[in-house]
């Protein structure tokens, strides 16, 4: 039984892309058949000037299709939302994929989990497309974050919760372990296949690791922490393998950058504390992209959830380490290689 949510996808083939093969005898035979008026519909009339003109016009004509689906992720910087959508008759089968949006305000408004309706505008025979007229039909993303009465995103200056995590070495750590250092925290899951999301975040953190390592004083006073949204799959060995890929296979980098999972219950707590939204469906996790800077005294110093650059994060981390009040550094955790 044929399966996936992509079944039949991309079967839309512009008619102009069907051409007659003429190099083989089969192609020659086809020419004979076509010349006798018994043509294959998709291939006939290719050379009539009026037909070519019509095709050229169609190629540059916008086509619009109705889309209904659920926002899986959003990327404000790229002006892009990823949508798990129903079949789009005449254009595409049901699938999950990123779309640019015409109105940048749309990306600000929608949240992962929201159900939307929109128009897909397709030009150049499908080579370029984007979303217009995006309407939120059900605000699931906001509901999931605000349904629990206890949800409270920490304000700047409030202490982060001292929840236990398990890092890539299988060691239990706590957020308070990082007191004395400026700590940059983000959230990913290792199976994320979207280059503009988790892989981008981890690449940015890897660059920060590289750059800070060049200034030992800043390196000693700072730390990176990546927490997974997917504790069921991202076990310590999985996180270790993932981390090594971003540390150029040098395990000493784990002394500066921890990759950790947390129980699902505590994940919800820390997500609420940091204002994250996420939900899992069909082994795919929809989430917002958030980065939190924690001061050496264990309080929230700054949030990023819309746009940022690696250099901006790096500079904030350095400044936080340099200007923070003197807090006794935590004891070394005596890592294993």
């Amino acid at each position: 039984m044929r399966r996936s949510n992509c079944a039949g996808a991309l079967q839309y083939v512009p008619e102009e892309e069907l051409v007659i093969g003429s190099k083989s005898k089969v192609g020659l035979a086809m020419v004979i058949v076509l010349m006798s008026g018994l043509a294959v519909t998709g291939c006939k009339n290719q050379n009539k000037p009026d037909n070519l003109q019509r095709q050229a016009l169609e190629k540059h004509e916008n086509k619009r299709y109705n889309l209904r689906g659920q926002v899986v992720a959003k990327n404000v910087a790229a002006n892009e939302i990823t949508v798990q959508h129903d079949e789009i008759p005449g254009f595409m089968a049901a699938m999950t994929m990123p779309y640019k949006v015409k109105d940048p305000a749309t990306v600000q408004e929608v949240e992962p989990g929201d159900r939307i309706a929109a128009e897909v505008v397709v030009v150049n025979g499908g080579s370029n497309y984007w979303l217009e007229d995006v309407r939120i039909t059900e605000q699931i993303g906001r509901k999931s974050a605000s349904a629990a009465p206890s949800v409270h995103r920490l304000n700047v200056g409030e202490h982060v919760p001292n929840l236990p995590l398990v890092n890539q070495d299988g060691r239990t750590i706590h957020l308070d372990d990082f007191k004395g250092k400026a700590l940059l925290v983000t959230f990913i899951y290792t199976r994320c296949p979207l280059p503009n999301f988790c892989p981008r975040l981890s690449s940015q953190f890897a660059k920060i690791h590289d750059d800070l390592a060049k200034t030992p004083d800043d390196y000693r006073k700072t730390h990176l922490l990546t927490i997974t949204f997917d504790p069921k799959y991202d076990t310590a060995p999985v996180l270790r393998k993932y981390g090594l890929a971003y540390l150029d296979d040098d395990p000493s980098g784990f002394g500066y950058w921890d990759f950790a999972f947390i129980t699902p219950v505590d994940l919800r707590k820390v997500a609420d504390a940091f204002g994250l939204m996420y939900f899992e469906q069909d082994n795919q996790i929809s989430h917002t992209m958030n980065i939190v800077l924690v001061a050496p005294d264990g309080t929230v110093s700054k949030y990023w959830s819309q746009e940022w650059t690696t250099s901006e994060l790096e500079e904030a981390l350095r400044q936080q380490a340099r200007t923070a009040a003197a807090v006794p550094p935590r004891a070394s955790r005596g890592r294993t290689p």
Partner: protein, 118 residues
């Protein structure tokens, strides 16, 4: 009946069945149903990283055209179906694992499509 006439008859028969014999697809070879499924999966799961430039990423995902034309994969492992399946399911380096996200049939279709990339 001459050979050419026989071929013409076959072409006519296929035309009657609605099969576009002699038509290429997006400039490439005609794809089987499995390969078409593989192509759809490729566009959804592979193309976002393996096509286009991604200067923001730590490591640039390799292009997959001609994957099976050489003896080894970009990783240096042998360019075999089994190795490519393993890479898709388990991931490699910064490439995410598709474990539990693609069925065995999906992976088979993907590998079949990757064979068509020249």
């Amino acid at each position: 009946m001459t050979r050419l006439l026989r071929i013409a008859c076959i072409a006519l028969w296929l035309a009657a069945l609605g099969m576009p014999m002699g038509c290429s697809h997006q400039g490439g070879p005609y794809l089987s149903e499995d390969e078409m499924q593989g192509r759809a999966l490729f566009e959804l799961h592979c193309a976002p990283c393996h096509q286009g430039a991604h200067p923001e990423l730590r490591k640039q995902p390799p292009k997959l055209e001609g994957l099976f034309q050489s003896k080894s994969l970009p990783s240096g492992a042998p360019a075999t179906d089994a190795q490519v399946r393993k890479t898709i399911i388990e991931g490699r380096g910064t490439m995410p694992a598709f474990d539990q996200r693609l069925s065995k049939e999906d992976v088979d279709d993907l590998v079949k499509y990757l064979h068509t990339l020249k």
